[in-house]
Amino acid sequence: MLRHFISLEWKSFYRAASFKTNLGIKILMFFGAIYFMLVFLGMGVGAFYLIKKSGWGDPLVVANQFLVYYLVVDLYLRFMLQKMPVTNIKPLLYLPIKKSGIVRYAMGKTIISFFNWSHAFFFLPFSVVLSMEGYRPLGTFTWFLGAMALILCNNFINILMNNKDQVFYALLAVATLLGASQYFGFFNITHYTGPVLYSLYHTPWTAIIPWILLSSLAFIAFSYFRNRMYLDAGLAGKKSVAQTEDYTWLNRFGNLGTFLKNDIKLIKRNKRSRTTVIMSVLFIFYGLLFFTRSIEAYDSPEWKIFAGIFVSGGFLFSFGQFVPSWDSAYYPLMMSQNIKYREYLNSKWYLMVIATILSTVLASFYLYFGWDAYLAVVAGAIYNIGVNSYLVLWGGAYIKTPIDLGSNKKAFGDKQAFNSKTLLLTLPKLILPLLVYALGHYLISPTAGYIFVVLAGVLGFTFKNKVFLRIERIYKKEKYKTLAAYKQKA
C-alpha cells in the first residue's frame, strides 16, 4: 500500500509542469537551497556566540525567551504557505483502501515537509554548540527533542486550523498584542514561557510533555479528518456566502470603472490576491531596516532611495508583476470580449497608482526618522508611478504563469517569473533610481539627488501615452502564447 502511495507521490513530483524548467534555473535553485541551509547552519552555530558576546545573558535562557515568538512566526508562515494534503485524496476515496490508511498517509506526508525538518538546521548546530560549551549533554539533548516536538505540534495545529481564518487571525492578534506589550514594557510573556522552556534542559524528564502534547495533537488531527473523510465535510472546498457588490461610485470612470470594480473584487475575494496585499503592507515596514541603521551595509545614502522604492511600491511590485496572470483563469473571455487592451492596462495601472499613493500615506510614520527618510519614500513613490508602473506592466507580458487564485501556492515567487527578460527589467526598476540619486547626491547635494529621482518619475509620467502604446503592442504580440500558456494548469 505504502509503495503505491510513494510511487504516486514520486510521479506527481517529477511530472509536475513546473519541474520541467530549464537546467540553468534548476542549478540556480539548488545553489539557493544550499545557501539557505548554510545560513541556517551559520545562525545555529553563531547564535550562541552572538548572544554571549552581546552580553544578553545565558544564551540558552535568551533562546528560550525568543522561542515563543519563533513558534508563532513559524505557525504564521505555515498557515500562509504550507499546503494541506487533502487535494490528492479524492481519487483514492472509492478505491479499496482503508480510510484510516489514507489519513495516516496524508498526515505522514506533512511531517516530512520542508517546514518541519528545516528547523533542525538551526536547532541541531545550536544544541551541539551548547554541549561543547559546557552545558549538560543530557539536558541539551532533551531540550533539542522538546523544541523539535513543539515545532511538530505547529504542524498539526496548522492542519487543524486550516481554512479557519477566524481562529488564525485571533491567534495572530493575541501574539501581536503580547509582542507589543512586551516592547512597551506592560507585560512580558517570556518571563513565564522562558523558564518553562528552560526546564526542558534543567529537568530533562519534562521533555516528555511536548511529546505527549504532540501525540495528542496528532491523534486529534487524525480523528478529526478520519471522521470527516467525506466530499461534503473535510474534503469540501470552503464556500463563502457571496454578496453582490455594485461599487456604483466607480461608474463615473466609464469602462475604466468596470475593470476597477472587477479588480477590487478580485483582490477582496481570492486568497492569493489577499496574500499579495498583506505582503505589500509588510513592504511598508521594510524601510525600518534602512532608516533605523540596524544594518551597516545599508548606511550609505543611496540605499535610502532603494528603501523608498520598496516602501511605496510593495503592491506595485507584488501585484503588478503578475498582470495579466491575475486574469489567467478567464483570459479567453477577456480576449474575445468587447475590450480594448488600452482600457484593460489602464485600469491595472490606476490600481497600482492608487495603491502606491496609499502606501506612501501609510508610510508617513517614517517622518519619525526625520524629513530625510520620508522624502526618500515620496521620491521613491513618484519614481514608482512615473517609471516602475510601466516596467512592471511590461515585464508582466512575459510572465506566462497561470495563477490559481484559490491557493497560496507559489505566492512567494515562481521559477518561471525569473526569465531573462524580467531579470533585465529589474535593472531600471531598482538600480537606475539608485544611480540617478547617487549622481545628484555626490555631484551636487543630497537634495539634488531627490530632485533627480523625482524628475525621472515626472518625465516618465509625461510619456504615458507613448509608453502605453508600446506596452499594448507587446501584449498583443504575446497574446496567443499567453493564452496557450494559461491553458496548461500548473
Binding site: A242, R269, M335
Partner: protein
C-alpha cells in the same frame, strides 16, 4: 457573415484543421458536429482569435479576425468555463459583460427578467460565487451572458452538454427564436445529433479536421448523420 478561406491549423507535425472554403450567411443557425478531436473547438477558437491560423484567414462581417479587433463589438461566445469569472456572483458577471457591451444595469436587469424560466430560480439571488455553482448552472450563466447586448454572431461550444432536459428544451427554443428574424447568426457545436438537427438549418460535419459533409437540414438529415457516425460513411482515413 463568416467567410473562411484556405484555413489550416497545424501543431508541430499534425494538421488539426483544414478547411478550404466555408461561408456562413447572416441569420443562419449553423451546427457543427464531429467526434472528439474533429476540430470543432479549434475552429471556434480561431473564429475568436484565441489561436492563430497556420494559413488562411477567417473573415467576420468583412473583418479579418486575426488582423483587426473590430469584430468584437458584435460577436459573443461561450466556449468553456474560462469564459466565466469565478469570483463574481452571477449578477455581477452579467453586469460586467453588460457594461462591456454598452448596457447599463437597468437594461441588463430587464434582459435577465426574460430568462427567469431558463434560470429556474437557481442562478439569481443565490448568494453564491460562480466558482461555487454546479457545472450545469455555470453553463447557463455563460450561455445567457453570450446573449447580452444583441450580438450579431453568437458562438456556443457544446451548449447542450451538462444541461438538464428541461433546460435543453428551453435552450433549443431560445436559439430558434434568436434566428427567427434573420438578424442573428448562431454557431453551435454538439455531440448530440438530435439536438443539432432540431435547432440548426444547416449542419456541417467535421472529421479529423476536414469538412466532410455540409447539409441543409431536412427530415432526412438525422438519418444521414446517424448513418455517417454509425460507421457506414465514416472514412477510416482523413480525406486528402
Amino acid at each position: 457573415m463568416i467567410k473562411i478561406e484556405n484555413l489550416t491549423k497545424a501543431y508541430a507535425s499534425a494538421t488539426v484543421l483544414n478547411i478550404a472554403d466555408l461561408e456562413i450567411p447572416k441569420g443562419q443557425s449553423f451546427g457543427l458536429v464531429g467526434n472528439n478531436g474533429a476540430g470543432k473547438t479549434t475552429l471556434f477558437s480561431l473564429m475568436l482569435d484565441l489561436i492563430q491560423p497556420t494559413t488562411g484567414h477567417i473573415t467576420n462581417k468583412e473583418v479579418v479576425v486575426d488582423e483587426s479587433e473590430a469584430w468584437k463589438p458584435f460577436t459573443s461566445a461561450y466556449i468553456d468555463e474560462s469564459f466565466l469569472i469565478g469570483y463574481l456572483t452571477p449578477e455581477e458577471y452579467f453586469y460586467f459583460i453588460g457594461e462591456l457591451r454598452g448596457q447599463n444595469k437597468a437594461q441588463v436587469d430587464e434582459f435577465l427578467a426574460g430568462y427567469e424560466d431558463f434560470f429556474h430560480g437557481e442562478i439569481l439571488g443565490q448568494k453564491k460565487y460562480l466558482r461555487d455553482l454546479s457545472k450545469g448552472n455555470q453553463k447557463k450563466v455563460g450561455i445567457v451572458a453570450a446573449f447580452i447586448g444583441s450580438p450579431e454572431l453568437i458562438i456556443l461550444d457544446e451548449p447542450f452538454a451538462n444541461l438538464d432536459p428541461t433546460t435543453q428544451i428551453r435552450l433549443k427554443g431560445i436559439i430558434k427564436q434568436l434566428t427567427l428574424n434573420r438578424q442573428v447568426t448562431v454557431l453551435v457545436s454538439s455531440h448530440d445529433l438530435i439536438h443539432v438537427t432540431e435547432v440548426c438549418e444547416r449542419i456541417a460535419v467535421l472529421h479529423k479536421g476536414e469538412l466532410v459533409k455540409d447539409l441543409n437540414t431536412s427530415t432526412q438529415t438525422l438519418k444521414e448523420l446517424e448513418a455517417f457516425f454509425g460507421g457506414d460513411g465514416l472514412p477510416t482515413q482523413a480525406v486528402g
